[in-house]
């Protein structure tokens, strides 16, 4: 177990394609850290740099107290689980798991007992003699996990390990991986673009965009106090409602021509901001002067999402999370209100969060 530190890491691929710029990141000893962000933001690149599969253009990488910037992958004492499992097709599940130990010339009985132990932890003992092509996706994923566990590494790296599984298996494996982490306590870096995984698995999550860290923090903090508009829009499903150019004054604000009282608004400097409202902080209210025209109602079983447009000159899109028995039909104009205490404000230009 060890902490991992990236210091001022710069990564430029061929043709001057800069993917990471001056990136500082610390993974604490024993922590489960999730990297999340849209496709192409550099998540895999960071992971591959930690693994040593990609060189840094500039900067340093430390695992524990050791500078491993130019140490080859085999000497970094890390284990990695790949998105497509990357099991060796010509070896049985047992041999796949034993591969790293055999390379390190460990004694036979030790290999045998370690593989069996990991297999029982993952309940894949009956599969040990099978070849990867005879295994289902979930079983392959377990073998790949087993291959990482037997190595007893300082750091686990996961690159979207669940994205090829179906929804049910995915939630099972989510629980399994967090359970393993709790039991083994190994420092873990987990890459995903699935925010459910990010929210449920990470002790801290790192939100990345365009190779730049937008925010680092515990999931709920990131959810409740997004550092900027990008994070606010990226985390949460369905995404946050944004209302541009909302004028905030002494007593409240002006939302599409409707004045809304805002307790504590005096702490916000007067001006025009972007207002952000989570779908669950909206609710129906026939009395409210805020009105929206419904254009889609999406029941999901336990609740329903109501999509519509603000009845005002600029017609902002509005998404509301409502109880499943919501009284709204397509074409209706309904009133709604929101909890002003849960309103987020962002700078109209930089997108940074305005604290209040």
């Amino acid at each position: 177990m060890a902490e991992v530190r990236l210091e001022k890491v710069e990564k430029i691929y061929a043709q001057d394609k800069r993917v990471l710029h001056n990136l500082d990141l610390q993974v604490r000893d024993g922590e489960f850290l999730v990297l999340v962000g849209p496709s192409g933001c550099g998540k895999s690149t960071i992971l591959r740099i930690i693994a040593g599969l990609e060189d840094v253009t500039d900067g340093r990488l430390l695992i524990g107290d050791r500078d491993v910037t130019s140490v080859p992958p085999r000497e970094r004492d890390i284990a990695m689980v790949f998105q497509n499992y990357a099991l060796y097709p010509h070896l049985t599940a047992f041999e796949n798991m034993a591969f790293g130990l055999r390379i390190r010339k460990r004694p036979k009985p030790e290999i045998e007992s370690k593989v069996r132990e990991a297999a029982s932890l993952l309940s894949i003992e009956p599969l040990l003699e099978k070849y990867p092509k005879a295994l289902s996706g979930g079983e392959r994923q377990r073998v790949a996990l087993g291959r990482a566990i037997v190595r007893d590494p300082q750091v686990f790296l996961f690159d979207e390990p669940l994205s090829n599984l179906d929804a049910k298996l995915r939630s099972e494996m989510r629980a399994e991986i967090t359970g393993l982490h709790r039991r083994l306590g190994v420092t873990t870096v987990y890459v995903t673009h699935d925010q459910v995984e990010a929210m449920t698995m990470g002790q801290r999550i790192v939100v990345l965009n365009g190779g730049v860290i937008q925010q680092i923090g515990p999931p709920l903090e990131v959810y409740n106090r997004p550092a900027n508009r990008f994070v606010a829009g990226f985390i949460g499903n369905p995404g946050m409602n944004f209302f541009e150019q909302v004028r905030v004054g002494e007593r409240g604000m002006d939302l599409g021509g409707v004045p809304v009282e805002l307790p504590g608004s005096s702490s916000i400097p007067a001006g025009e901001f972007t207002l952000g409202l989570r779908p669950e902080s909206l609710s129906l209210d026939p009395e409210s002067p805020l009105r929206m025209r419904v254009d889609l109602v999406e029941p999901t079983g336990g609740e329903a999402f109501v999509y519509g447009q603000l009845e005002s000159e600029n017609g902002h899109r509005v998404i509301m999370k409502a109880p499943s028995d919501v009284q709204a039909a397509v074409g209706d104009v309904v009133g709604f209100r929101f909890d002003p205490g849960k309103a987020h404000f962002f700078d109209a230009v930089s997108g940074d969060r305005i604290e209040r």
């Binding site: 693994a51 040593g52 599969l53 080859p72 992958p73 085999r74 890390i78 284990a79 990695m80 790949f82 497509n84 990357a86 060796y88 097709p89 010509h90 591969f99 790293g100 390379i103 390190r104 291959r147 190595r151």
Partner: protein, 274 residues
């Protein structure tokens, strides 16, 4: 309709099979003829008074075993050198980006556009300068050089279908790049290695023209050269000649039969790989 199609298809296949097999049967038949029936025009496959005399003559009175030894030395060396060089060169072309990579690939392809006979003269001059004329080593070098373009391309193409993740997983697991190549890539490339080995072996086994040009000592003759010597200028003992041909084919047939399993998957290389 479907039935008719199937019948026609089978008739065609039977026809092709007969056309392929018949000449071989004739050779077998000729090799069994007693020496007093050499010019017999009888069409029966097993001739009257069939005998194995011709085989005995070939194996005892002629230096057939010497030719066989020479051919084996040459073909096996070509196979070993050829596959060793092609498997590593193909890997480099498949995995690394280096200056000259594209040019190198194309240059290899271009050499395939010239007929071998066109290369005879320069090849001979080169061998002379290297002092390799009239030596088995010269023949080995010449054959290896001619098979490499094909084998390098075949293996490069096969490596391209092996996901890089596997090597990366191996390297994270503790191997060097070369270790990943040996422990993961080579075992997975077995069908391609088999077919390139077979190709290398065959090209040495049955080649005549280059051998004719490079070798002059009778003691260095390979099978094709020796066999040609059996066909006399004025008179040819056809039974001996046929028996010799059959003996030359035998190892190749055995090789094909034993590698059958790999050949089927090897020949479909480059097709869709599931």
């Amino acid at each position: 309709m479907k039935r008719l199609k199937s019948i026609l298809l089978h008739l065609l296949l039977v026809g092709i099979t007969i056309a392929t097999i018949y000449p071989i049967l004739v050779v077998i038949s000729v090799s069994l003829r007693p020496s007093d029936a050499l010019y017999s025009t009888s069409l029966s496959l097993i001739p009257d008074g069939a005998t194995l005399d011709a085989f005995k003559v070939i194996l005892t009175d002629k230096p057939f075993l010497l030719w066989m030894r020479n051919s084996l030395i040459v073909s096996l060396s070509v196979t070993i050198f050829g596959v060793a060089l092609a498997s590593t060169a193909g890997y480099a072309f498949s995995r690394f980006r280096f200056p000259g990579r594209r040019v190198g690939m194309i240059a290899l392809l271009v050499t395939q556009m010239f007929p071998a006979t066109m290369l005879l003269l320069p090849l001979y001059v080169l061998m002379r300068k290297l002092g390799l004329v009239d030596s088995l080593l010269g023949l080995i070098v010449a054959y290896t050089a001619t098979v490499l373009p094909f084998t390098v391309w075949t293996l490069k193409g096969y490596y391209d279908t092996i996901p890089r993740d596997l090597e990366e997983a191996a390297m994270v697991d503790g191997t060097t790049q070369i270790g990943a190549f040996v422990r993961v890539v080579l075992p997975l490339a077995r069908p391609a290695l088999m077919i390139t080995s077979l190709f290398s072996f065959m090209s040495g086994w049955s080649e005549f023209i280059v051998a004719r040009v490079i070798l002059s000592s009778q003691s260095l003759y390979t099978l094709p050269l020796g066999l040609e010597g059996l066909a006399g200028t004025f008179q040819t003992e056809w039974a001996n000649y046929s028996a010799g041909s059959l003996l030359v084919c035998l190892p190749v047939v055995l090789l094909f039969l034993s590698l059958n399993r790999f050949l089927v998957s090897g020949l479909t290389l480059g097709g869709v790989k599931g």
